[in-house]
Symmetry: D3
Subunit: 231 residues, 6 copies
């Protein structure tokens, strides 16, 4: 999945943008529930710290549709940090009055609902539809997955009034083109928008506000994360 994400990112990146795609050293293989979300975050924080200090990255993208750890990541760097869900929603709002999300397991639905709400996008989101297939099943049988996404996307447009479809998993980047063709409405993954919005923020020369909420964490003892997170 990291390769697919990398390829999508590179395909849309500016010529002078260097993309580094990393999978955190710690965390679950896929993210489909709250435990997965939380166990993914320390690795996300660590990669942001490392990218900021060692690789001098200009911006960071959290490439999981639940945008795990977004606020925390913004605390550890002043460089822009973007989530792919946030980026997909942001882009959808510029090109359509309503969108729907099509995603993986039904149990993951609420995680998506949480972020849609957190971004103030409830009144733009007509539905969050799920295929009932896990990330793993999508990996094993992509054609079955594509068909399920097309079916849910079609229903989102016809029954729910969506005018744009967001793909609710970073693993769906390879399906974008075929779904766009099939559904006849804009179809967005989150990686592509995140890359372009990250570039835009970098060129705006804006930094994360360190006025209060997202300033650097207070220095304190943190047990058990040696080698996992180095603040």
């Amino acid at each position: 999945m990291t390769d697919s994400i990398y390829n999508m990112a590179v395909r849309y990146a500016d010529a002078d943008t260097e993309i580094t795609a990393v999978s955190p050293l710690t965390g679950p293989d896929s993210i489909e529930c709250y435990v997965d979300e939380y166990l993914a975050v320390p690795g996300v924080i660590q990669e942001v710290i490392k990218g900021d200090k060692e690789e001098n990255a200009d911006a960071f993208i959290i490439a999981c549709f639940g945008d795990p750890g977004l606020a925390a990541a913004r605390e550890v760097t002043e460089k822009p940090v973007l989530g792919i869900c946030e980026s997909a929603i942001t882009t959808a709002k510029f090109i359509a009055p309503y969108f729907s999300v099509v995603s993986v397991l039904d149990r993951s639905r609420k995680v998506t609902e949480d972020v849609v709400k957190a971004y103030g996008a409830e009144s733009f989101c007509r539905s969050i539809r799920t295929t009932g297939l896990s990330v793993l099943e999508f990996g094993k049988n992509p054609e079955k997955g594509l068909k399920a996404l097309a079916e849910q996307g079609r229903r989102a447009v016809e029954e729910d009034g969506a005018e744009c479809i967001l793909l609710g998993c970073a693993g769906f980047v390879d399906f974008v083109d075929r779904l766009r063709e099939e559904l006849g409405v804009p179809v967005l993954d989150g990686v592509m928008p995140a890359v372009k919005l990250a570039e835009a923020l970098v060129k705006m020369n804006v930094k994360t506000s360190k006025a209060n909420t997202w300033k650097a964490p207070e220095v304190k003892e943190i047990k058990g994360f040696n080698g996992i997170v180095d603040l």
Copy 2:
């Protein structure tokens, strides 16, 4: 004001982006109430149509903080159309948990409130503060205007909890740098974000959804707009 907007746009535009700044042929000198908003829109629509058909522009920015006619403009072209209020809010949400808007006359406050609500940004917006000065007065006495903006911006940060300040008038582009320095938090006008977001949307190759709401207007007779709006 068109010159200031143009300069700000050019300053931040990519090297290969061509900026055309136009003031519609019809409409009021400044936009400070609902009548002004509505009388500005036909000219906005016309410029978008012209830019789309004659100048082959890739995207459009409505450079007034009330984003007048945004939905209508999206109907007449499939190229991305952005408002500067929408763009400023979008950018602020990436870099701060809360923002405030500082603006012109108190009577214009509700127009800003309307758009903040329309974009689902109510819970991010800590306050909309006004200086009591008209666009004209800002033009005549910029130093007085700057001082008033700084005062309201400071109160937004200290009393309202804003962590980012949005300047609620396209005429404020020349104040950004000094206010940022003075307030110690990110300060955004809307023109700069709109330019970078417009470039991002163009490079994403996304088009406005023509699925339903924003498709081209039905062809019908329209009286009295010959030479003003040519659909």
Copy 3:
């Protein structure tokens, strides 16, 4: 359509109320999208100004269900200005806990949703249903239109829980009686309520607040509206 509206207004007006029904000199033949809305507004503003200054009208009704230009019209006169959507919703809330709107094209749905929200009526509105027929098609084939309205009205009552039906187009005034009979719940167009509420406001002797937001527009140069809008 202006005749039908006039007849409905006269039918319900008090004996001592004089109704003047005018179609603005400028604007589209029918209003079905945002472009139509915005191009209708200058003519609406002009008729309000004219009615206020030349005809000494006591109140104004904007007889289109999107209530185009309502806030602007309130700026140019201190006499009450009412929209028919606003009036229908106001009346429905007095006689039913929930209503639905049945309307024309699906693309026009969002315009109605915008005003329902703007009036704080979201939690009273069970659905906005559309027939898929344009204003023109209703004009050409009223029986087909009536049938479609009855079908959507019936579904609003049975499936959505509406206890009152609002007809979402000023062109539907001639259908009210038959739909009421057929649906077994109160059915309201907007013209009739607007006439009675306008009379009520006039007799209350209330004026639009000129305290701040809706006071007269600042005097300024407005290009291109000579003969269209005379502020």
Copy 4:
């Protein structure tokens, strides 16, 4: 207080409108808390039933700013029933973008907040301000009461951004004219609007929807209300 209410109603009623002002036979002397509200309602229901069956009234007004028993009253008759809070808010929304309520005891504040919310008027209501004086104290020392209302009204306009003031107690009808003069913005009691809106609804010939929620109560045994409420 019933006399003041009657006088205000008659002053604004149409020539052919007959006003009957009744104080229910049961209930508290004034209504300032939830217990008061609930003990007032049986008497309100009874008067509506009586007015409907015996006096053939065409419409009913509940003249207490908490609109006690409004939904229940709508169940026992098909004639329009209006609350004065509902009527004041309805009227305010036609003539101002924002209003505030000035009222009696601080403890009664939440009752008002409840109804403002129930009518979907939260975003129009800038504040609910209280004088700290009870209904009784207003009766004993009207000048002190008037002064306190003026002070709170002034602060609502200057500090909270209200552009119209609603008087949050039926006992304030005699203060309307002086407060309007003093505050320089529209000031509304609820009785006057309710009378004119009731007349309007009657002439519209609309009836309360009996489709579902507000139909007549199921016939069942009710203990202990003989002579208090006769369904």
Copy 5:
């Protein structure tokens, strides 16, 4: 019904908790509309006063799913007062992300919606489903009622996404076990949660805040409630 409620309460009460189940001396046989609600409240207030003063009860439960008179009851005692709807919702939120309510007549739906909203539980409530059967019909034909509840509960889970089912009538306490088994998700009546939460509040030694809104009613004359409510 009072017996069933008593039995459920005793079944779950702590060994040292004494349960007294009373049916107010005044009020309707069942509560299915707003009139029923309001006519039930004086009896509820009276029982709370009596229980507080004469029986020295430590807490009070209003055992009707509309929680009639809850705020009023809190004014007349400083002991905790709980509603069964409030208790069921409170409990559901601890054990499931979403719930639905299944209830009696469709006309009673809005009463439930009112309380769900009042408790801030709208975003947790996936649906309020009704069986179309009255409280009386449930009494006469419990098996038919059970079947109808099971059907609506099943649809709430499968179609609406509920993960916990609340039984929207105190008369359903005898159905809990069988519905839980049948539906495969947690099923809650309100009486059981209310008993355990009441015990918890008593042991916390918390009292209703008398700071302002819910302090004791002002002393004043109340006509017509001698022998019904003795404040």
Copy 6:
């Protein structure tokens, strides 16, 4: 702090309730920002798993006012899991119409706002006030902390209309009695309510719904958490 929490819990626990207070083996010394929140969660999950499997605990309390990892903890056990913020809010709603939270650093304010919103308690929460003191500073100088809490609590009551005060940090348990006395309104920490509500849920014999969202995490490889979290 763990000792203070333990003492408070034991003080209020039923005689037959056994309290085990544990500080997770991993995580930060105090929790004051999003990074702290996220780095605390793996340890929280681990303690819940351990308590469930090894100690056969009947319920779990997350004793930090941001309720870190609550949804995740509910996935790894079917025993009730409660947060102290959730428990304090739940309790406050039973005894007061409005509450305020007084807390530590201003930067932590948004974490509290997030959970208040997540629990649907926005309209009950009048303010979230902060003392500007860190958890560490409270530890070092408790009297200074107490004074700051009293000051903010007083302002919450007098200026914001709070009728109950919640202490927004588990470290404040020792201040409850003195603040209650000083402020004259109910003052709640979260630990005490959580203990009593946990006991109540256990005696209700309810389990976390495993219908969908909160069922056990899918089995998958998780890197880097050996010895930290053992699913």
